[in-house]
Symmetry: C2
Subunit: 485 residues, 2 copies
């Protein structure tokens, strides 16, 4: 299957010959053990679980607690390292437009082997609509789960288990993203889930939550109105257009009406008085970029205001945003209430549905680590920076999480980790240090590649693999330089 | 000046040769004594005050209170009627798009005679922007008044003084409009003023009010986005398009996602899940009507929700809607809070600015009566019904109010009005009775016209004037039949 074979949305019927970027997207599909699917009004989010075999270095550290003071004895090693094959459980999350669902199901069916699973958990509004199709294609029984229940279950899970899942966006600050540590005490909170429309859910405990409000102005509105205004049919392209636009050419600002600020009311001149207010009477054409930007502002501000009002009405101070909308623009202003964004905003329902199915495994006893190599995370914050990646994620977006059998700890080889005070520097906050270290890593790269090739003199493909590594590593450093957070 | 000479908005420069529908719009301009102007982001509302001379029948009723029991004495008349010339103060309100402001000022300057006024009260955001233009054109000093102050002053005034100013809209009810009587106890209330953008003002007393919120999604957004989507540049034409459209072809409904209702959340299948959600992925073209309708729904629902949330946050139960947006569709859903619409919604700021200037006259001691002949009132509720009137009001809209020197009372010739129990029937509620009476009035019309002509045998133009009367009267009856409320 060709990597660059993308589906052309302008083709009306999507036949099976369309090539999916499958080796990227459906990694390890063959071993898929369990499925969950979340079908929204516009997007489908699929989760599957497979096992991946790989080598890990294991450390056996000898117990010295019983013999304090004698552990410097020569000849008695502090630890032992051994290489082992290990099987890791990996969760794969894939997002695509509903239009691709049939093609994707066909692909899954064709590539699925060895699966013992007979059931697929399904949630989201579309679970009903696509039930028969899924059962027919995959020969799995569709087991529907309540959408809100899955959404909240998934949200609670990422808040508790994924390090730095939630973040605050501080405009114009040196480090715009401020990540929050996981904390067991997550309730109560308000979840604003922005799908095609918006659902506003008050969450008081694991089992107690209520949809307190909603709005029809959501991601589908950005997509739908954006498509009508710009003739651009792809959601991510619309976001990309918006990132280049000037909303002030389309919006009527306070200063356009008042000639400046309206001081006595505390309205600054740059405040938007009327979204699209200028296009009412102006005869000029407006650029796609400007219209997309204005639309994005309009919808974000509206959702932000509703979020703030519902939070105030219900006396909630923590407001999380979920759904597949925020991505490019966490700069939502919601007044005195703290807006918290989620790196995995779009996968909450899928995660919840998956957990529902995996409950017998008691997944909460494991620690979950994000597999950054495959994770989309904040990848799409700046659509311009990684055009190559964008082409892929424009239609398909993915996330991977590894289930860790052990708790991850810092510096496991240390004899007494608690007494060690590391000389740390937060590269996300210290721009000079970041620049220095990225430079160091880049400078060292050639040497590392040379040593890697030299270490495997018997493997003829070593040079080629090392080249691939060099390319990927350099790309990662570039990404970190441009998107340090 | 030709009545039918309307300004073509597609002409880029508007020169003075463009004819305004001036004999309709600028009635009695020559005697204008005082001006006030409210310039919003998109629309200008002008008020002027002039005196109009006309004949009135005055009744002198003799005092019988002192001689109870003897008032049936023959030869002693109960009352005396005399015809008198009277000068009435009349307030004229005119609305037009900001694009016409220069043309209108020129027209006013050319037609203004005998004005003693040196000052024009100005409010609204545009007062600053157009100050120099107004002063140059009219040679009047522009005296700026705070927008919110004028808005609230005008709102308080109409609520206290104009009978049946506020009304509730009850969808699907036999009489959809339920008018409220004036009541001196009007505070507290929430005013949602929908101009180009939306201002939300909490009003606690005559002097105590606060802008508690706002939104950039307002009338300018409907106009601006509507113009971009449909290439229709006129606000009223957009409303007219919307009245013919089906929003369900553009909007994604709950049932489009779920296949039905989402019962456990109390969401009905017909609820809009995502405004414009269908246009995101569908490849078909959407009709202008459907898009306009969807847009109208989107904006109305959004404002309605904000209104409801602010009302709940501030514990207010009465919510009034002002501004020039609601007209075609008072069916705004705002949940548990009572939505009250205002017949003169668009003129609040102008009325307030005018009153500011007229404060020395102490206008509150008068009773104000609406001059229905010239008032737009609810004229534009059903854009389709009166296409002729629509053509006019599409660009210009007007309202007139007469200052009454006396309190208007029912049946002034009655000897003892308090003991008389009239046999009334509310024609707005009783459809059968309405049909009957409208039929009676229509049947009697020929006779009335005949008698009118016969009563003025010496006036050669009597027949022509009677014909005009017949036409106008019949048209009024038709309007009442189609828009009884």
């Amino acid at each position: 299957v060709a990597i660059n074979g993308f589906i052309d949305r302008s083709s009306h019927s999507m036949d099976k010959s369309i090539t999916l970027p499958a080796d990227e997207i459906f990694r390890n599909l063959e071993n898929a053990k369990r499925f969950a699917i979340d079908i929204g009004g516009s997007l489908t989010k699929l989760a599957y679980y497979s096992t991946v075999q790989h080598k890990v270095a294991k450390v056996r550290s000898f117990d010295h607690t019983a013999k304090v003071g004698v552990n410097e004895t020569e000849g008695e090693p502090l630890y032992e390292i051994s290489m082992q094959e290990e099987v890791t459980a990996r969760l794969h999350f894939i997002k695509f437009e509903n239009a691709y669902i049939e093609t994707c199901l066909d692909f899954i069916k064709d590539h699925l082997v060895n699966t013992e699973t007979k059931v697929i958990k399904a949630t989201g509004g579309g679970a009903h609509k696509f039930k028969d199709l899924i059962e027919k294609k995959l020969k799995l029984r569709v087991d529907k789960e309540d959408e809100m229940t899955c959404l909240i279950k998934g949200c609670n899970f990422v808040l508790r288990n994924i390090p730095h899942e939630a973040f605050v966006y501080v405009k114009h600050a040196d480090s715009e993203f401020r990540f929050q540590n996981t904390h067991p005490d997550i309730f109560p909170y308000l979840l604003i889930n922005i799908g095609s429309g918006v659902s506003i859910v008050k969450v008081e405990s694991e089992d107690k939550f209520e949809r307190v409000g909603g709005s029809s102005i959501g991601g589908g509105t950005f997509w739908g109105l954006g498509a009508l205004l710009t003739k651009t049919k792809r959601f991510d392209e619309l976001l990309q257009l918006a990132s280049k636009g000037q909303h002030t050419s389309v919006d009527m600002l306070v200063k356009d009406i008042y000639g400046g600020s309206y001081g006595s009311l505390g309205l600054t001149g740059d405040l938007i008085a009327s979204s699209f207010g200028k296009s009412a009477t102006a005869d000029n054409e407006f650029s796609k970029e400007d219209m997309a930007k204005s639309l994005l502002h309009m919808i974000s501000n509206d959702i932000g205001q509703l979020a703030c009002l519902y939070a105030r009405l219900h006396n909630l101070t923590r407001v999380y945003f979920g759904g597949f909308f925020i991505r490019g623009h966490p700069q939502m202003y919601i007044g005195e209430v703290q807006a918290l964004f989620l790196r995995h905003e779009g996968y909450l329902g899928t995660i919840g549905a998956f957990l529902k199915g995996a409950e017998e495994d008691n997944p909460n006893q494991y620690s979950w680590g994000e597999n950054y190599a495959g994770s989309s995370g904040l990848m799409s914050v700046s659509p311009d920076l990684n055009p190559m990646q964008r082409t892929r994620s424009g239609t398909f977006d993915m996330l991977e999480m590894d289930r860790l059998e052990r708790q991850l700890v810092n510096l496991p080889l240390l004899q007494d980790p608690s007494s060690y005070i590391p000389d740390t520097v937060d590269l996300s906050e210290d721009a000079l240090a970041r620049e220095y270290w990225l430079y160091c890593f880049e400078e060292a790269l050639d040497g590392v590649v040379k040593r890697a090739v030299a270490s495997q003199p018997d493997l003829p493909e070593a040079a080629e693999r090392a080249e691939k590594f060099r390319h990927k590593y350099r790309h990662k450093l570039q990404t970190l330089r441009q998107q340090p957070l």
